[in-house]
Symmetry: C2
Subunit: 193 residues, 2 copies
């Protein structure tokens, strides 16, 4: 749990405005409805394994966000061995990017709350996938990742024990890591366009 | 299950080279080891909620892939309300992009295998996230998405029943959708750098 008392507060730690961080946390603690967020993406198919997402607005902290003047646009593709032309990274690779970023940001945020100065983090990810699942050739094989390995190299001004505790906390509290580690329902509905 | 007999085979359907698709499937069927893939990403922290991933090589179909002359590079960021400066989309938004792309590509691939011509697909995604989980303010709240809604608009030359079956299959066999819907272990190890 993040509390002001846990931190040797500095105005800026790990690139985070800690005063604003603790204000945000206090605001959420006094009105938990502010913690509800809805993130969004719009995606359009192009051809074959190519499709494109547009990401801009979201709801959170009690209001529609309007901080982004222009949308972010990302293209999924597939490599030739998966019948594409490398139009972009493929979706399972984007998932690794999301996972790496989320565990890193969760680590950096909670380090700031604990008064731990992070000097560097880099992470190597590997995910095992068996195409027999995607292709429906063996229903006993999960179509998703079988497991994902994250190997983090980290430099910080704390003990090994404090890093163990920080990273166990980040693993357990990262939204993307939690979405991967636990079952999350995906409701798919369709209309004819 | 994808079989040649199911398809009214055309050389190119939905932007997919169907002859190569069926060759790939037959190759995997006769040597299931070819179905084993390892996807990878390298991520480096920049500051605060900003970090950057590099994606290039992977192992699959029995060899190291060398089809990408240059890496894909993606930046995670956070909006101001989450203490960032919109340096990029945030990790939970990238996860929606990955999910949209994977369900779309799985739909398009299996449509081609079934001889269904897809004319258009677009998808709107919404994911509900409660920050009480990330912040560790309520351990009963999952840090991950509580649920994700995908609303697809699709145009294809088949019946509503065939679309229902196709989309149920895609939901069940998309690697990213399966990674989200089922628990997947994430092993996090660290060394001091």
């Amino acid at each position: 749990m993040v509390t002001k008392a846990m931190a040797k507060v500095e105005a800026q730690l790990n690139g985070i405005d800690t005063a604003r961080m603790f204000e945000t946390i206090e605001a959420i603690r006094s009105d938990p409805a502010l913690a509800r967020f809805e993130f969004r993406a719009s995606n359009a198919w192009v051809s074959g394994g190519e499709n494109r997402s547009t990401i801009q607005g979201f709801y959170g902290a009690g209001r529609e966000d309007d901080s982004r003047a222009a949308p972010f646009v990302f293209t999924n593709g597939e490599p030739p061995v998966l019948l594409g032309d490398n139009e972009g990274a493929n979706p399972v690779e984007f998932l690794l990017h999301a996972l790496a970023g989320c565990v890193t940001t969760t680590t950096v945020l909670h380090a700031a709350a604990r008064g731990i100065r992070i000097e560097a983090i880099s992470t190597e990810l590997e995910g095992d996938l068996n195409l027999l699942g995607l292709l429906g050739l063996d229903e006993a094989v999960s179509p998703g990742y079988e497991r994902i390995r994250m190997k983090m190299t980290i430099r910080a001004d704390c003990s090994a024990e404090a890093l163990d505790a920080l990273l166990a906390f980040a693993h357990g509290h990262s939204p993307v890591c939690s979405t991967v580690c636990r079952p999350v329902p995906v409701e798919l509905t369709w209309v004819r366009g």
